[in-house]
Subunit: 368 residues, 4 copies
């Protein structure tokens, strides 16, 4: 059950990095949801390697085939199976490294878990697996869009370079998804320099969900922020997550941290759009710590199943910085969590779905 | 299903802050596990209010009654139901605040979700609910202990005061669970000052699990760190989480971040004990951001279901800093996640359970 | 997870026959559902031993304490915990039998599974456990009632005596739940005779759910009839189940078995109210095979953990026929399955919940 | 979640009858299990149409492509995705019937559920879907075989013709899977006659699992027989299920129904291999009621979404008797349930897996 994500909207993914295919089965989408193959393609392209010299040169077209659950462009209530063939797999490139545990990778832990080395390129624990998440996330985004919700992410920092402002449209165009035009070239330099010196670099990502109505998320283990945190850390390379002001709140007093309210709504959004794990109606804000790509060509000390000391230099097609690719995956995971919570909310009241802030919305919401 | 946590080891909790009781049903413990009521009591006492002037004066004995699943001090394979009566509930103290949304609390979001105000004191979203988690966690800790694993947590910082070293035994005795004797009195002062000025203060907590064998955790949505992250953020007041070096990794290069290896094992533990979401055999390290207690007596702006602007001062029995109480809850959640993964691992190989680092362990694992 | 039942409406039960208590935690009920303690009591009384000389003389008041999830007589959206103390437990009566495997009971299989004998009276696998199901089912019935649905069961045959007609009101009053006044005394005689000769007797039960709208149940593993079948066989002593005409359909031709339709609806209901596992809007009909009570005072050959041959006569407080008690449990299980499906249906369409047969209903569904 | 089956061994199926493909994702298989494509093919062929004039002439090669989770002929611990293309789909044949509700089919109920007609040929609720179950079941059977367990099924009766003895090897060769050579030609005649008169016929199937050790299955909602019953009724056309003597037990006394024991083991197997829902070590016996194929060319009364009365004759490629095809599916479902229980059993004891009957087995079993 560890390859399955979500509760009412459930995604089961499968596939290894250099096997025949990766894919996902998405259960629980309401019947009648419009599904656009173009939109799926657009979102797949955002994640896709080969888009610039700042990411791996593995060239996967990532064409998504919809095997089931959709007829005449709409869901029919059955599970939607999504298939993505691996066309540029080159397992032979991993021949040497398969005898050694690559530092920072899951080779050693996989070996300890299963008693054998993982398949080429990390197999199931390669970044390749996230293609299936993005495809599934595209369906969740369509559901969100039907209710006026939207998710977007961008890179907030790389190594020592941090954005000072956020221009989402700029991020959309920039190969690193850098959110600030003023620091973009500096950020690019950091990545290029790491790459050319056989190294890699980490960074931070922010994902924001807008239009999310108040009331989504469930006490106590279905809290929206808890599910988001778990979802984000399930993405390879993510080692930390914050909701709203996150770690900055530790240094504040209650009077500084609380978001006070007036009849117009919240006066601030330090909580990042959730209180008690339930959405407030304000934007949901999540930040991720992304570690540097573990595959580097610099020499590293390691060992292998035979228990001998060894040195290792990893050559191949690797991203010097994971951030741009993780942006698309983090958006997808956020969409899956929020769409799931929106579907769940349909079951939570005897007399309807939502109650909104202010007299306007008291008249009752449509749709969800 | 949002009140249920875990996969192979499953905990369902119930209960409101000022209702008759809170409790938990724990499914999936192997038969024959020794269960010590004294140990449960000891762990409940760690979380318990009334232990010092730094925490709420609500006085709950938190006696845990074992209703099922245990005979002659051992589990029998049936679900273990744990019942904790609420004896010091005072719902009347919340009469005034129930007409207003308390800033930083889930009153507003609960109202938007369910169309009515939550029960007194936050009901299900009160800190009271965590008593059930600690009781369930005590069983998970017994299971961990049977395999040589142990979890411990402590406060790493409060407001601006941070520990510079960690002395677990000291933390155990200190009412704030402060890990560093050298900064303990300064930390206490910060909390006292916040309290006396009608305010509260946030902090950071660290939880470490030792003795965890390599190989626990599942690709891709059952990663140990992902489950830990989700578990931690499901605790009220936690707004961020890091695994290992966490957000510090964002500023590093791959050559600085990777944990290299020799035949003796890992040369560092920056990853915090997981690679690819699977345990490495090194200590598992998780850090939490805890926001300041939202209940403060300082005046705050707010509104209520009637849509009128109002001012609110909250008086009552509240902790000025959540950290010492969250320590016990975070330990419990870590234990539930890790015990779950250890049980899951029993099902993952055709020919046995574990493979350990080094020739010694090749001879085969014990118990799990 | 084997002590948990349902998907959207989830029940976790706990408790052993001669332990302190049995109980249930019910998750997923919508907020605002009216909960009547009197109704719970009435349903508990239907299942309860001691009601006549035809059932066990164990005298349990079966008072249900609601520990959480209800305020002012309505659900609040949190899990509802239900506690039933065991007050007439007499574990000492089982002292002798605990050294032997009682034929027809789970003593041997429990021993093989867990390596030790089960607790007194079968522990978790005693009929006592079903008290928790009936209490949980009472909540499901309240939900069903709010939508105009109703479940009722009765005994259809005992030993060789079969009902030739069904008078539900009569069954309600009869201690064996016999549905046919004309055969009731004959049926009673069969049970008395079995009892007085140290034996027991089996029978058949029918459960009918009325008012269930078309459209409940999910392809392919969430079929309403599949869930009902699994639910029924999970009740101790039930060894067979039929939907609609069931085994009689095996002997028919398609032209005889199909339920044809006109614009007025179905012309027959041989399918028992489900097609493709989805409700048709006609009554849902399920029949159960109940084996004779395994506890009999006649001498039986057996063995025990020590591997010696032995003879066994079981004396104690046992029902000579399980049917009247199973009726209440089967109704509860049917209610849990159908209420679950009704809640699930809320999530299945983009544009609303239900579509009904005929032009009248096109105007739109009520509540669910 | 209704397209997902199992707990520790989990199968998610997808695909419509006349869409691009059907398939399954199988999670939870231990790493290192040998997977034989030839064996999968052999089992697919057993279910496959086109094998004789007694089944539909739809000609699907049913080649199973393994997309993931297997390397060098063994499972690696990742989910195994199985893909079966629909190559002989002819949606146009359903053009006329798509305007009417086919009696005995799920057209009406699907329409009521989702507000639109199902896809051609019943879409998700067609027998085509079971190809995915058989493919997944083949993996479960491999797991069972590794522990010495085996499942086999056969047709026990068709219309009025019943087997008087069971010769499994004969059933294996017979196109109807008839178990008794003496009645086989009579049985064939019944099917031919029904077919030639534009009709169809029902029957009964028996599935037996041998080599299943004692101790599999979980109280109280994970009982082996309850899961088997639910699994069987989830197969299209199955309207009843019995365990062991099933409905015959209703007419017996306890002294006749109980399986007594000696030190050698059970003296009979009327319970069908489960007591308290846990396996006894004796063969597990399940019987199914299969209704006549609903698609018949005889004229039937019906209606459609437009609410007009209509007559319908269904022509096309349909089986006159579902039994031979259901045999393969029922075997697959039994294998999935039992393999799941065997994996679950690995987690149920502190000190090992199984305890067996008799002194021999006390030394402890390997393997599971």
């Amino acid at each position: 059950m560890a390859d399955c994500f979500g509760r009412y909207l459930r995604v089961t993914t499968f596939g290894e990095s250099h096997g025949p295919a990766v894919g996902a089965v998405v259960e629980g989408l309401p019947a009648g949801l419009e599904v656009s193959l173009d939109e799926i393609r657009r979102l797949m392209d955002r994640r896709r390697p080969g888009a610039s010299d700042l990411v791996s040169s593995r060239n996967e077209p990532d064409r998504v085939e919809v095997l089931s659950g959709v007829e005449s462009g709409r869901t029919i209530g059955s599970p939607v199976a999504l298939l993505i063939r691996n066309l540029d797999a080159r397992p032979e490139e991993y021949r040497r490294t398969r005898k050694l545990f690559r530092p920072g990778h899951a080779d050693f832990t996989w070996f300890e878990k299963f008693g054998r080395m993982p398949p080429s390129g990390g197999g199931r624990l390669s970044g390749r697996e996230t293609a299936a998440r993005v495809a599934a996330g595209a369906l969740a985004m369509s559901f969100m869009a039907s209710l006026g919700m939207k998710v977007r992410g961008y890179t907030l920092s790389v190594g020592p370079v941090s954005c000072r402002k956020v221009v989402p449209e700029f991020a959309e165009q920039h190969p690193l998804r850098c959110a600030d035009p003023d620091v973009a070239s500096e950020m690019t330099d950091v990545v290029r320099k790491a790459s050319s010196s056989g190294d890699s670099v980490g960074g931070r990502i922010e994902v924001v969900a807008e239009g999310v109505p108040a009331g989504l998320g469930e006490p106590v283990f279905g809290k929206l922020d808890a599910l988001l945190a778990g979802a984000m850390v399930s993405v390879g390379g993510v080692k930390g997550v914050e909701i709203g002001e996150g770690f900055r709140l530790c240094r504040l007093k209650g009077s500084e941290a609380n978001d006070q309210m007036s009849r117009e709504g919240f006066l601030s959004n330090r909580c990042g759009g959730t209180l008690g794990g339930i959405s407030t109606g304000r934007p949901i804000v999540v930040r991720l710590a992304v570690k540097p790509t573990p595959s580097i060509s610099n020499r590293q000390r390691t060992t292998g199943p035979d228990g001998e000391d060894a040195d290792l230099e990893i050559h191949g097609r690797h991203d010097p910085c994971l951030c741009p690719r993780v942006v698309a995956v983090a958006e997808a995971m956020a969409a899956l969590v929020i769409a799931d919570a929106a579907i769940a909310q349909r079951t939570r009241n005897m007399d309807g779905y939502y109650y909104f802030f202010g007299p306007r919305a008291r008249n009752g919401p449509p749709g969800v």
